[in-house]
Amino acid sequence: MDNVSYQRFPTVRIRDIKDDVLKFELRDTDASIANALRRIMIAEVPTLAIDLVEIESNSSVLNDEFLAHRLGLIPIVSDRAMEMRLSRDCDACDGDGRCEYCSIEFHLSVKCTGDQTLDVTSLDLVSSDPSIIPVDAAGRAADMGGFESNDTRGILIVKLRKGQELKLRAIARKGIGKDHAKWSPAATVTFQYEPEIHINEALMETLTLEEKQEWIDSSPTKVFELDPVSQQVVVVDPEAYTYDEEVLKKAEAMGKPGLVEIYSKEDSFIFTVESTGAIKASQMFLNAIEILKSKLDAVRLSFDTEEADDQFGELGAHMRGGGI
């Protein structure tokens, strides 16, 4: 065991980068690192979310805690979240909300006076800090032409009929998804092993054209294609393969086992990161690396110290290479 170095130099290659979607490859590492990144992105990258709501007047159909819950789930632009303080650690204040280091105040004051039902949306939230506002995901998407125009009115909170009023003060705080899902910046983070697909060309040639097409169609995703010119089966998108083994089963059912061989590269991962809009997907990944690093620092700091035994127990001994 001694002198075996586990050190590797993982590389990242970005495939696709948008504000809310990031696709990249992570190579030369193993599942533990990939999964650690995924877990941190979902549960530990901090964002801002409304955490305290003081309701002054609420004559809407939804009750106070229902509204507070809905407000909490509204994603808030959290680019500054990394350098902000958690309100429980804030020295400057007692976490009451009027502190520039840990909290942002929002006000909402809407009254319906017309005969039409009034939609109260995230756009009605007035922030004390112009840089920290609710994410208008729809508005931004409209620029990209992805959404219908009538959905550009922010995130719906409640509807008011004539005479109903909603007046409240809300405080957004920094937090992480582990504590409450509202602080999770990730809609989805997933990865899969990169597949390696080898077609046995010789065996493939024994199939008729119809059989080839049938075999191709057996995969629910578009992995293979029949080349219109050469009439050969080619791999068009190996990553579309979902490891469902449908094609292998099909090959076996056709009496041609070994028609295709599929391996997963155990040190190569394809990541898809989708953001709620609170922070950019790319920033989320960078933050995750940052957090992972600081976690490892914490481990390294306590390495070889007295506290290590207390803090890490058997793991501490393990880290010192003592074995268990």
Binding site: A34, E65, G177, A187, D244, E274
Partner: protein, 1200 residues
């Protein structure tokens, strides 16, 4: 973007009160749609209730008072005669009390609910008085306030459109059918009754106990008058060949030889009667359905001989005989009426009361004898009294009609009694004139009539001398709990077999019989004690009413006339002129509503029936649309043949399609159904005769609740039954007018959704208005071990996003008028106690919670022990503060100040609190397929497995072992279908039997495909089209390790319901707490903080484990541990007392539990040898009890 659907909180939201029910994912924005929902399908569900109440107020009361016995009196001195009767009963719509200053004087149902009032209107009638047969004097009298059914014709809500209903603080879909009693919604239960005016052959061993020579065979008929009052009559076969008639008067059965009644009914001679009876027989004995002439003639002779032996030769003799026998029973002892007149009254009141004409009665009696003889001879089998074809329903309005009739009759009799008493005591003063009579009216309170009805509604108990020919005295009403819409709705559709049958040990009455097909749901019955007794009507089942298709009142006489006319044209041989030898098998008797209208030649019947059926569906024809045409053909030892027509109300009916003519829809009943050929779409081609009718749709045999289960045809049948139960226990969205209600307890789910896989019934009954669950991403895998034994793992993040968030609403009414003594003024008022300076300190403490008016702030969060209401006694200045009980936090939701009508200060409030209930470990959830489970963990999102392709983490993980033994394939299908639907953005139709019926497309023969209707295939293809696995599985990675699972995981979307059973209502824990003062053992009961009994069997298991310490801990240390002082010399436990500190002190004599201090044995008079011994306190108690019986208990102490 697939991953986005995962957040369950609000991907499919329900809108305001008028959300459109189009099956598309709609936009969340914008104003409300103004279209009206078509709620006729919902109204149909409560129709039996509302329609029968309309009958009660509009026609039933009138009919009932018309048939009341008038009272007749004669003054002993002046000889003035007085006749008293009742006319023109009227129930008026509910109004506020006089003196109310409200602008709107109407009393609306919502006000009653909130204020805990009863929704009732004034019930009046005219008392008609006639002196010496002179002019009729009318006197309007009030019978009190009669409870009024919501949405009946005297309810303010009748005829309102949905906007107006919402303005009246009701549901837009309000369907009525219930009463509001003290703020509770109560329903009169539908009860099964024997079918009216239909002769049933029965064989019961208990009949032998009627007397010597009674056999076990008889026929029975429940005769119902047009005013719905009933008299059941039985005809018993005597072993010596005769028959005897039995009927009950005031719950006592009277038996008369049938010959007497036959002779008393019509002027006739023995030869004629003999001929009539002999018409039963036919010469061709060999043929099926025929009786032997020998057999009948012998018995006919015996019947006639029996009468002759009593020396009753003429009709007059018989009437006189009856009159003499029944004079005391009829309550006519001191009357001067002739015996024969009394006899006629007996015939009128108790013999075949549904018929007025004695000849009709005679003919029916002859028919009953024929049926009885056929039964005895074995030519006909006894009818099954448990089969639906011999049943009808007791409707709420009909019950009320007979109850009110009974009560008014009772009142009249009491008026009569009072008048007689007064005339006897002081004949001179009480002259029977108007003034006197009116005085008596005041003495005998007429409002008792309505009070008894209210009592009936409140308690379900019936108070009646006669029993009203009902088999039970209690359980007539139930509370319509609005737990969720399914439960609410099924109250109206539930039909109870009768309280009597619940006590029976035999299970035969509970059996599901094929006769119930299409009328009673085979799926929807509870398990446990009411199983099979409490059934539910199918969604399509309707109850016939006394109105015709055009809404006009049906006239039984006119119907009989017109139907007879039609039938005569078709070859019916009418009853008159009498022709003998009209007997089966050549001729069959035709009965219409229990009246013999003639005979038909057997061969002609099928074509006549078809003609009648054609006429039946023609609007406005002579044949009523809901007439039951039951032709029971001649069989050997089958049911007794005949053609039985019925047009009466309260029968079961349902629609099927005719396969002749132009395919009209026909209403059929359960009796005729058994003898009809009805084809089920998609079913096998029938082997027997060619079908004449066709089912409209394949799910028509299911109740509303059962038809909401998606793909229930793929499930094992008990699972569907469980779902019917659990659907009714689900936390849902119970009412849109939640804000205007004050139910004791109400459950609400915060973010309900429409199911993606839904049946046709879902939209038909507007379930979108009251959804009951959430579409959850469900993975089927054994992940952590926390999903064993039907436990399920919830995703913590999903829960935080609002999955299955719920609230419980609790209401409390504080009524200060209850504290008030009679005659007192207002002493208690709602006020903060600080109103008095003396209590300033106390006031400051509660000021955070209680406003100056003594009521809580709306929106205030309360925790255990927080005050929420303060009442100050003005006389003493003391305040009484209500504090929140239970450890659970609550939020004040609503405070209703209720005007009690007077000008006094506020005396009544209703406070509604809201208790948030987030899903937690121990809460119960269920899919719609009887798959219930308890949440065992709220697992962090990152630790949940995730799908490699979509990154989806499931909301719920269930164990695969839930499937093999339960075989709920429907759930697997739903999972795939909803997944495909979610991908497509479409709702999926999951109606059962869809593919096998014509509406579902190919209509393939069910048998040929081996039950595989291709649903799974279709769904697989849809999944493939979206790039998902054909079988609904996905490759998943462990959330903890990031490695791929060996197996592919079944992942899909299932509509999950949160059930109302929650740990926070059930957990029970104690280490110390209240003890029973006598035994010092812990008390029981969760509410009082008691313990759970550690019983014998629990003790046994600890013994078996040798867990001695635990045993000692549970049964002694944690129970009634006690150290007693025992005298070592005399061994007495009770004689030891602490040494008195001062002479003559009596302090703590008997028990000696004071620790420390010197003890003395009073017997041995020494403190030496007193030892402290640990023992259960009950042991000491035992010693004391024994001492009380002069038994001494001594203990021997030893060192070891």
């Amino acid at each position: 973007m697939v991953g986005r659907t995962e957040s369950s909180g609000g991907s499919v939201a329900i809108g305001g009160s008028a959300m459109a029910s189009t099956p598309k994912f709609g936009s969340f924005y914008g104003g409300r749609k103004e279209e009206e929902l078509d709620c006729s399908s919902l109204y149909d569900l409560t129709k039996p209730h509302t329609e029968s109440f309309d009958y009660f107020v509009e026609r039933g009361l009138e009919e009932a008072v018309r048939r009341l016995q008038p009272i007749e009196l004669k003054h002993p001195i002046s000889g003035t005669s007085l006749r008293l009767w009742v006319e023109k009963p009227n129930v008026s719509p509910p109004m506020k009390d006089l003196g109310s200053q409200a602008l709107d004087q109407r009393l609306l149902p919502s006000e009653c609910r909130l204020a805990g009032l009863t929704y009732r209107g004034i019930f009046t009638a005219d008392i008609c008085m006639q002196w010496n047969n002179g002019v009729v004097v009318r006197h309007n009298i009030s019978y009190g306030k009669m409870p009024v059914m919501v949405k009946s014709s005297v309810c303010h809500l009748r005829g309102l459109n949905q906007k107006q209903l919402v303005a009246a603080k009701e549901e837009a879909t309000e369907m009525g059918g219930y009463f509001i009693c003290n703020g509770n919604e109560r329903i009169i239960r539908l009860l099964i009754m024997p079918k009216r005016n239909y002769v049933v052959g029965v064989k019961r061993t208990s009949y032998k106990n009627r007397g010597p020579s009674y056999s076990d065979k008889g026929v029975m008929i429940r005769c119902v008058r047009p005013d719905q009052s009933a008299v059941t009559m039985r005809m018993y076969y005597m072993n010596y060949g005769s028959a005897s008639l039995g009927f009950s008067v005031r719950r006592q059965e009277f038996l008369i030889p049938v010959g007497i009644i036959l002779k008393a009914l019509i002027e006739s001679n023995e030869y004629e009667i003999y001929e009539q009876l002999m018409s039963i027989q036919s010469d061709s004995k060999a043929m099926k359905g025929a009786l032997g002439s020998q057999f009948v003639s012998q018995r006919a002779k015996i019947i006639l001989e029996e009468v002759r032996q009593l020396s009753l030769f003429t009709r007059h003799d018989c009437l006189q005989f009856l009159g003499n026998r029944f004079r005391p029973v009829m309550g006519l002892e001191d009357k001067q009426q002739h015996a024969a007149v009394v006899g006629e009254q007996v015939l009128n009141d108790y013999i075949l009361v549904h018929l007025d004409n004695p000849l009709d009665k005679f003919n029916l009696l002859v028919f009953m004898l024929q049926k009885l003889f056929a039964l005895v001879d074995g030519m006909a089998a006894p009818d099954n009294a448990d089969a639906l074809q011999n049943h009808e329903i007791l409707l709420p309005g009909h019950l009320l009609t007979i109850v009110v009739k009974d009560r008014i009759q009772d009142w009249l009799l009491r008026v009569q009694g009072q008048l007689l008493k007064e005339m006897k005591e002081k004949p001179a003063e009480n002259d029977l004139q108007l003034k006197h009579v009116q005085k008596v009216f005041e003495k005998v309170p007429a409002s008792d009539v309505s009070k008894k009805v209210e009592y009936l509604l409140n308690t379900g108990n019936l108070v009646s001398q006669s029993g009203l020919d009902l088999n039970q005295v209690g359980g007539f009403t139930l509370v319509a709990e609005k737990l969720n819409f399914l439960r609410y709705l099924s109250h109206f559709r539930s039909v109870h077999r009768g309280a009597f049958f619940a006590t029976l040990r035999t299970t035969t009455v509970r059996k599901l019989l094929p006769e119930s097909w299409g009328f009673m749901c085979p799926v929807h019955t509870p398990d446990g004690s009411p199983c099979g007794l409490l059934n539910h009507l199918t969604a399509a089942c309707q109850i016939s009413s006394d109105l015709d298709a055009r809404g006009n009142k049906k006239d039984p006489l006119a119907i009989r006339k017109s139907v007879t006319k039609v039938m005569v044209n078709l070859g019916l041989v009418p009853v008159l002129p009498k022709l003998s030898n009209m007997a089966p098998p050549e001729y069959l008797t035709v009965l219409l509503d229990g009246c013999v209208i003639g005979h038909l030649a057997t061969g002609a019947i099928p074509s006549i029936i078809e003609h009648l059926r054609r006429l039946k569906v023609v609007d406005g024809s002579e044949v009523p649309a809901d007439m039951e045409i039951a032709y029971i053909p001649c069989t050997s030892a089958g049911s007794y043949p005949g053609l039985y027509l019925a047009t009466t109300p309260s029968r079961f009916t349902r629609t099927v399609k005719q396969m002749f003519g132009d395919g009209s829809l026909e209403l059929i009943g359960p009796l005729e159904q058994a003898y009809m050929e009805i084809k089920c779409p998609g079913g096998n081609e029938p082997i027997g005769p060619k079908p004449t009718h066709e089912e409209i749709n394949a799910t028509a045999f299911l109740s509303v609740v059962a038809s909401l289960t998606p793909w229930s045809d793929h499930n094992q049948s008990p699972r569907n039954m469980y779902q019917c139960q659990m659907g009714k226990q689900t936390m849902g969205f119970p009412a849109q007018a939640l804000q205007c209600r004050a139910d004791n307890k109400m459950y609400r789910i915060q973010t309900p959704q429409m199911p993606i896989a839904q049946t046709n019934a879902w939209n038909k009954y507007h379930m979108n208005q009251f959804p009951t669950g959430t579409n959850a991403i469900v993975a089927v895998l054994a992940y952590t071990g926390f999903d064993m034994e039907d436990a399920m793992i919830l995703n913590k993040s999903s829960v935080e996003r609002g999955l299955h968030y719920g609230q419980v609403y609790k209401s409390e009414t504080i009524d200060l008028t209850e504290l008030r003594q009679r005659g007192d003024g207002v002493t208690n008022v709602f006020a903060r106690s600080g109103a008095m300076a003396r209590f300033k300190e106390q006031a400051d403490k509660s000021a955070n919670f209680i406003d100056i008016d003594g009521l809580p702030y709306v929106g205030q969060t309360l925790t255990e022990g927080d005050p929420y209401c303060s009442v100050v006694n003005k006389m003493t200045g003391q305040s009484k503060i209500s504090k929140l009980k239970g450890s659970e936090a609550a939020i004040v939701d609503y405070v209703a100040a209720i005007n009690t009508g007077s000008k006094d200060p506020l005396q009544k409030v209703t406070i509604r609190t809201r208790h948030p209930r987030y899903p937690q470990i121990g809460d119960k959830f269920s899919s719609r397929h009887g798959q219930k489970g308890v949440c065992s963990q709220l697992w962090p999102d990152v630790d949940m497995p995730f799908s490699a392709v979509t990154g989806m983490r499931p909301d719920i993980i269930i164990n695969p072992h839930a499937f093999p033994s339960r075989m709920t394939i429907g759930m697997l299908l739903e999972s795939m279908a909803a997944k495909a639907g979610a991908l497509d953005g479409k709702f999926m139709n999951a109606t059962p039997f869809k593919k096998s019926s014509k509406e579902g497309g190919d209509g393939k023969d069910f048998a040929k495909t081996g039950g595989n209707d291709g649903t799974a295939d279709l769904l697989g293809q849809q999944m493939n089209a979206h790039g998902f696995n054909y079988h609904g599985t996905e490759v998943m990675y462990s959330g903890v390790l990031g490695t791929e699972f060996v197996c592919e995981i079944y992942l899909g979307v299932v509509y999950y319901q949160r059930l109302r059973h929650m740990v926070s209502d059930k957990y029970q824990v104690r280490s110390m707490g209240p003890v029973n003062p006598v035994t010092r053992q812990p008390v029981k009961g969760r509410k009082v903080g008691g313990g759970i009994r550690f019983g014998e069997m629990e003790r046994d298991s600890l013994l078996a484990h040798g867990a001695a310490y635990l045993l000692h801990d549970r049964l002694h240390a944690c129970s009634d541990y006690h150290t007693a002082n025992v005298c070592g010399f005399c061994g007495s436990l009770l004689a030891t007392v602490p040494l008195p500190t001062t002479r003559g002190s009596l302090g703590s004599l008997g028990l000696g539990i004071q620790q420390g201090g010197k003890k003395i044995c009073r017997v041995c008079n020494t403190s030496k040898g007193i030892e402290t011994v640990a023992m259960p306190f009950v042991f000491r108690y035992l010693a004391a009890e024994l001492a009380a019986m002069n038994i001494k208990l001594t203990m021997t102490l030893s060192q070891n």
